[in-house]
């Protein structure tokens, strides 16, 4: 929609600026708070301009939260989620769009329904599965009487067990198992003309070859979009790591660490709240997602401009 009226121009700009202010003010306040001493940050009225304590606060927050190893952990998990998600989404959508098999529609709808069940909703069963990833199989075996059968014949009690608590796998898998990416890919694959598929078949390329040589290169911008979304999503996870990781020393995630710095009744025990450290840590934790978005943005834009017909 292109309108060329000056009044509308001004109004749209005002709306834009308003939105920007709403978004940027808290970040500005966090930044300002991170640059002051404990006394200054707790003074009234609150400081609106930066002080000179930024580096000191950053160093202090970094040390207190043990951010070094925690950043590595979070990076591993986020990267794992990104890679897992892209692979899973791509392969599932590939199967759903380009193959015609019995039950395809049913599978499609089952995947679709999981869209309505984000991790937070199914967190208790997910935890149960994470505690023993093989328990669903155990349940099935028990139900069909296989366990008792084996027990009767060989005298062995079958008890499958694969514990995912306190592991990267446990952190990553439940975040990978959602349908969003599958849908993104499906929508994209549906736009691929049939002729292109047929041309590849005539050229002798089998399905996997077609996926690798044609579909994946063509979906680069999709991958960039999905990678960005999933990285930020995984990076910001709080509830799930809090649940599955009890061994915080080895598997702690930055956001959970950050929450320890945020002063509340428990942590301060009535002392002066250390907002300057919490905000300094917040700045640090915010950086990787922002960097990823800025970096990936170039890909989105290139993808938008370079529309090959």
């Amino acid at each position: 929609m292109i309108e060329r009226t000056p009044i509308l121009n001004i109004v749209t700009h005002l709306i834009l600026i308003f939105g920007l202010v709403v978004i940027l003010t808290p970040i500005w306040l966090a930044f300002v708070a991170a640059t002051h001493t404990l006394q200054a940050v707790n003074s009234h009225p609150i400081e609106m301009w930066p002080g000179d304590q930024l580096l000191i606060n950053l160093r202090e927050a970094w040390a207190q939260s043990d951010f070094g190893p925690k950043f590595v952990n979070t990076l591993i998990v986020s990267t794992g989620v990104v890679l897992g998600k892209i692979t899973l989404a791509c392969i599932t959508a590939f199967s759903l769009v380009f193959f015609n098999y019995r039950g395809r529609i049913v599978i499609f709808w089952m995947i679709f329904i999981t869209l309505m069940l984000p991790l937070e909703v199914r967190i208790v069963p997910t935890y149960a599965v994470a505690a023993n990833a093989l328990s669903p199989f155990q349940t099935i075996m028990d139900a069909i009487g296989l366990t008792s059968l084996i027990n009767m014949i060989s005298g062995i009690e079958v008890a499958l067990e694969w514990n995912l608590l306190n592991s990267y796998t446990g952190l990553i898998l439940p975040l990978v198992a959602t349908a969003t990416g599958t849908f993104l890919y499906r929508q994209f694959f549906l736009t691929i003309p049939d002729e292109l598929v047929e041309a590849a078949r005539m050229d002798g390329a089998g399905p996997l070859r077609f996926l690798w040589d044609v579909l994946i290169p063509l979906s680069k911008t999709n991958i960039a979009a999905l990678a960005t979304i999933m990285f930020v999503y995984a990076w910001n996870q709080y509830l799930w790591p809090l649940l599955v990781i009890t061994d915080r020393a080895n598997y702690g995630m930055v956001v959970v660490q950050l929450s320890d710095l945020v002063p509340d009744q428990l942590t301060t025990g009535g002392g002066t709240p250390t907002w300057h450290l919490a905000m300094a840590a917040t700045l640090v934790v915010m950086l990787p997602p922002i960097a990823i978005v800025i970096f990936m943005q170039r890909w989105f834009v290139r993808g938008l401009i370079n529309t090959d017909k």
């Binding site: 047929e198 002798g204 040589d213 017909k309």
Partner: protein, 369 residues
């Protein structure tokens, strides 16, 4: 070099039968054009030869091997698609060489062949471009090169020229024919454009609603159309059709409006009393003075062609066209006389729509078609 044999092919989608009992023999090195209106099943037939579509019933063999169960790449066919179907992310060179890459041809040999083929279709300087940076004609050439490089036994074309402008279309038509002659593969070309069909084909296959109406050289099909449908489809403007009844005693067809068209005595005797359609091609009718004319019609309007004019006339309420190099001024309602040669008369059975044979030569053709 290959011969293709299509035997009693039927195709159904679910409960829809879209093709039935199609038989066709395509000889080695022949250029066959499948012609028909959109939706008649041309592409489906082509895609069944290519292996992109399952064959519901019947058998297709290439070079004596039944290919029904073979994958496209095992059939030795290459295909040029209507929308070119180039890989958008690959350069021209990568597009052309992709089949070789899949086949595992080493890079050096591949590049050499790509360069050779690209040069032969005039793409030498565009090897590093992406398809998005090429014009329609150039993309078409890439699609051709991609087919040529595989050195196929059979070339399949699915309306490859319909996205080009008129001038380029003629140019590419010549190019396709040149390449066909040069390579000596068997070509099957699908189009709905009769000019394309007439000019390219060694033999034309005219299709109608999933069946073959007639097979023959362009000349045979123009001169002896096997049915009202073919007569109406080939030639432009379309053949004029006048309904009437054969009267052997007068050696003529009596038209519904009282006029008559003379027939050879033998033909009139054979079809005596039958309801028929008389076909007369617009370019085989001549304007004559009403007194000496074989038919008279009423003038409606005319179209300028530059080289001549199309005169639109009516006999009673049946429209009739005449194409003539003669340029005459007329006003609506004028009476126009028409004359024609005896062998310009085509006769079709009114009920079946099939051609009524004129003589022995004609009858032989009916059998082969």
């Amino acid at each position: 070099m290959a011969e293709i044999s299509i035997r009693d092919i039927s195709k159904t989608y679910g409960k829809n039968t879209i093709m039935q009992g199609v038989n066709l023999e395509i000889r080695q090195k022949e250029f066959v054009v499948i012609l028909g209106p959109s939706g008649c099943g041309k592409s489906t037939l082509l895609r069944m030869i290519a292996g992109l579509e399952d064959i519901t019933k019947g058998e297709i063999s290439i070079d004596g091997t039944v290919v029904n169960a073979l994958e496209p790449r095992q059939r030795g066919c290459a295909m040029v698609f209507q929308n070119y179907a180039l890989y958008p992310h690959m350069t021209v060179a990568e597009n052309i060489g992709y089949a070789l890459k899949v086949a595992g041809v080493p890079k050096a040999a591949r590049l050499e062949r790509v360069a050779g083929v690209a040069k032969s279709v005039g793409l030498g300087e565009f090897l590093d471009r992406k398809p998005g940076q090429l014009s329609g004609g150039q993309r078409q050439r890439v699609a051709m090169a991609r087919a040529i490089i595989r050195e196929p036994k059979v070339f399949l074309f699915d309306e490859p020229l319909s996205n080009l402008d008129a001038k380029l279309r003629v140019q590419m038509r010549h190019e396709i024919r040149r390449i066909h002659n040069q390579i000596g593969a068997t070509s099957v070309f699908v189009t709905h454009d009769q000019h394309e069909g007439m000019t390219l084909a060694d033999r034309l296959v005219v299709m109608n609603k999933g069946t073959i109406e007639q097979v023959g050289t362009p000349e045979e099909i123009y001169e002896r159309p096997a049915s009202v449908y073919v007569a109406g489809f080939i030639g432009s403007p379309a053949m004029n059709m006048l309904p009437g009844r054969v009267d052997a005693s007068r050696g003529a067809v009596l038209l519904d409006n009282g006029q008559s068209v003379p027939l050879p005595a033998q033909q009139a005797r054979a079809a005596n009393g039958n309801l028929v359609q008389v076909g007369l091609r617009p370019e085989q009718l001549f304007l004559a003075s009403p007194a000496s004319a074989q038919l008279t019609a009423t003038y409606v309007f005319q179209e300028e062609l530059g080289s001549g004019r199309v005169y639109h006339l009516q006999i009673e309420d049946i429209p009739l066209c005449v194409v003539s190099t003669e340029k005459r001024q007329m006003t609506e309602g004028d009476t126009v006389g028409l004359s024609f040669a005896a062998d310009a008369v085509h006769l079709f059975d009114a009920k079946s729509g099939r051609r009524v044979a004129r003589g022995t030569a004609d009858r032989v053709l009916e059998v082969t078609a």
